[in-house]
Symmetry: C2
DNA sequence: CTAATAGTGAAGCGGCTACTTGACTTTCGC
DNA sequence: GCGAAAGTCAAGTAGCCGCTTCACTATTAG
C-alpha cells in the first residue's frame, strides 16, 4: 500500500469531501453524487482512485455499489506522520544533547 | 491552517521527497535541488507551497535560504486522521450496540 | 414486458500545475 | 572591485487530471 497514492487521493477536494461524508455512514455512488453537484461517472472515478489508495472499499449488491471507509489507507497515513514526527524529535534531541 | 493545503502539498511526489529529506536535516534550496534533478527555481516554488501548507518553514541568511520541517502542518494532518478514525470507531460502536 | 434506476466504459475537452528558460538582485570569496 | 554562487521573478509550455457526454449493461418496480 503506497503512501503516495493516499496523498494523491486526498489532494483533491472532492475526494476529501467524499471521505468525510463516508465517515458519517456508508453510501451509494449516487448518494455521494447528489450533494457534490457532479456526475455519477465522476464520483465513480473518484471512488476507484480512493479504493486504489486503500482509503475506501466498496461492494456491489444488485445494481447498487455501497462505499465505506477502509482501514488500510488511514493506517498508512498515520504511520507516515508518526515516522516524520519521530525523525523530527530525534533530531531535536541530538541537537539538545550537544 | 487549512488541511486542504496540506494534502495538496503532499499530493506531489517531489514535495513528498523534499519533506522526507528535510526530515533528516534542514537544507538549503540548492542542496534540495541537487538529488532531485530539477531546477533551483522549481524547488523554490515547491518550498513556497510547502510553507503555505505549514509543513515547512525557512529563513534566509545571507544568500542562503535554509528550509526545515514545521510543526503546524503535521499537527493538522494528525488531527484530521484522528478525527476520521474517531468517527469511524464511533459508528462501529453504534452498530455493535444494536 | 416495460420503464426507470444504478452504475460502467470509452473518448474528449479545458484548466491547472509542475517545470523550464532567461533576466535580474544580492551576497560571498579572492 | 570582479566573478561566481544562491535565490528570486515573470512568462511560457506541456502534460496530466477532473469532469463531461454518450452509449451501454444490469437490476428492480409496476
Amino acid at each position: 500500500m503506497d503512501i503516495g497514492r493516499v496523498f494523491e487521493a486526498l489532494g483533491d477536494p472532492t475526494r476529501r469531501a467524499i471521505v468525510e461524508r463516508l465517515g458519517a455512514r456508508p453510501q451509494s455512488v449516487s448518494q455521494l453524487a447528489t450533494p457534490l453537484q457532479i456526475t455519477v461517472t465522476a464520483v465513480a472515478q473518484h471512488i476507484h482512485i480512493l479504493e486504489d489508495s486503500g482509503l475506501v472499499e466498496s461492494s456491489k449488491v444488485g445494481r447498487v455499489r455501497t462505499c465505506r471507509l477502509a482501514r488500510h489507507g488511514f493506517d498508512a497515513l498515520e504511520h507516515w506522520v508518526r515516522d516524520r514526527r519521530q525523525e523530527w524529535e530525534q533530531r531535536l534531541d541530538r541537537l539538545g544533547g550537544l
